[in-house]
Symmetry: C2
Subunit: 345 residues, 2 copies
Amino acid sequence: MKSMSYYVIGVDMGATNIVCVLSSKDGEIITRDTSKTLGSEGKEKTISQIINSAKNVLKEGEKLGVSAKSILGMGIGGPGPINSDDGIIYIAPNIPGWINTSLAEELGNELELPVFLENDANAAALGEWWLGAGKGVNNLVLLTLGTGIGGGIIINGEILYGAGHVAGEIGHMVIKEGGLLCSCGNHGCLEAYTSAKSVVNRTLAEIKEGRKTLLTDIVDNRMEKITCKLVFDTAKKGDGLCKKIVEDTAKYLGTGIINIVNIINPQMVILGGGMAKAGDFFFDPIKEYVKEHAFNESTKGVKIVPAALGSNAGAIGAVAFVLKKKGLLNKADCFDSNIIELSET
Amino acid sequence: MKSMSYYVIGVDMGATNIVCVLSSKDGEIITRDTSKTLGSEGKEKTISQIINSAKNVLKEGEKLGVSAKSILGMGIGGPGPINSDDGIIYIAPNIPGWINTSLAEELGNELELPVFLENDANAAALGEWWLGAGKGVNNLVLLTLGTGIGGGIIINGEILYGAGHVAGEIGHMVIKEGGLLCSCGNHGCLEAYTSAKSVVNRTLAEIKEGRKTLLTDIVDNRMEKITCKLVFDTAKKGDGLCKKIVEDTAKYLGTGIINIVNIINPQMVILGGGMAKAGDFFFDPIKEYVKEHAFNESTKGVKIVPAALGSNAGAIGAVAFVLKKKGLLNKADCFDSNIIELSET
């Protein structure tokens, strides 16, 4: 018996880009539409961008034989905090006027489709769990290393929401009580040590203290040109200060991972975002730090891997979220996790 | 229609005491048997103590009209790490020769009852969830403040086990990277700052540095007489150093609680163990610290409360574990959690 073909629209509503995919029920991307997020033009503009993107993939899909009737719904990964039960984005920091917006309802009315809303980090975690680095791993944690540090936690194949739908704020875990000031106002948060911004800030602080580095020549003493990527690239060239900054970042991130593992005991920690593209050069010291400072067998055994879905993770995760909401995707659909070799980090 | 009466034996196999209760299906304690744990006399001695205790409550129960036929099974909370699926205690640090013991099977054969084994902190969390401070709260975390720091996590009315059955090692969360040495070998763990032992160690370190305190007179300069309880009692008398130590302990514990809340987002954090008996004197600064350093609404709203079941928590939790294993106790059986006022900490 052949199962019915159906399709889902998945949207990643990011601060920089809106990524919209039309996906088969198996996660095959039929067509894709992306645009720069024009957040500064306000809420209505962003909403109309999402609607246009959805209409584009629907039109393109129709040309490829995907009928409107076979579209199950639309999922959106958006900036948190979000209550995925009621489809409201409470606040979108980069979009003026975005307060308590019933996005799911508005889009649903316009597109005449069921629309489901999820926090972007949760959506990305779901995407990696379904078809990415965590395929078949039902207990995993995703960390997105960007301007800030996001987190999504999957337990027994389900997103961990917590009592108030705000679980997974991993970036604001304190790893150094009394340490560096974080954007949240607290001191010593993981984000204050491991975000792209903090990598740059820690580098600048060392330069200010007179530490020599190739960086100053590379940016021709225009310090505002120093980026996280540049620090990593210069570390790869062997620059002493940049190497130290990368090693410190690995140590801090390793500390956060140890905490996650001691508390939640997942099988896998997936690192996404720009910094996670640095490869073994960055992953090796993280793994080594976790191994050396681990408390128990579980910490020693956890896999630490880069995300696999790249810029599609959020949109694919939004598709997975719709399938889950419709009861079409559960733990059992995924490959069993016994492949994980606990002896290997 | 009157539902059938049945009963469960619950055992807390602690390092100091063995507490054994015969309980009704509603958690009413019919009879109770306790004895000092003779761990130093080896594994077989401890097992025979548990058997004797169980036989005592069965005999006493029979006198009170509880027939052997109405006993559903026995639950045991024991020292971790434990795999509750296979009923093995891998290692009991205070009992010589205790390696990979199939305790559930051994006891089951002897008592001719189904026996279920659970980690002691998980059992205590389950007890507090069922009938204690967390009654009706389906998302909670229990921290036991003793010689070490134990943890049990309940999510949606179920224990969080994690992939390798070792979730909830909250005491080994790092709150101060590069900080005090912990018994686990790592630096800066919550346990290294907030266990009873660490309270004493931090006090001794300050005295060694020349800090004046009433303590030295109270113990007549015999520093080995300083206990955690004495530090707390002397703080209540207004001693400057002891007050500082208690305040620092509240700050460190508050940091750990902030991390738990940011990652897991429970409705309630329950503090058990000796230190938690200090009352508002200790709880007020913890709540204040969490409130002041909180990241989000969720952290601000979490209830921080003392455990309610005292020395029965583990045994009652072991009873709850048996009822859960038999499918007789689930989330819906508990009172709804909407009573929690999120504005109040």
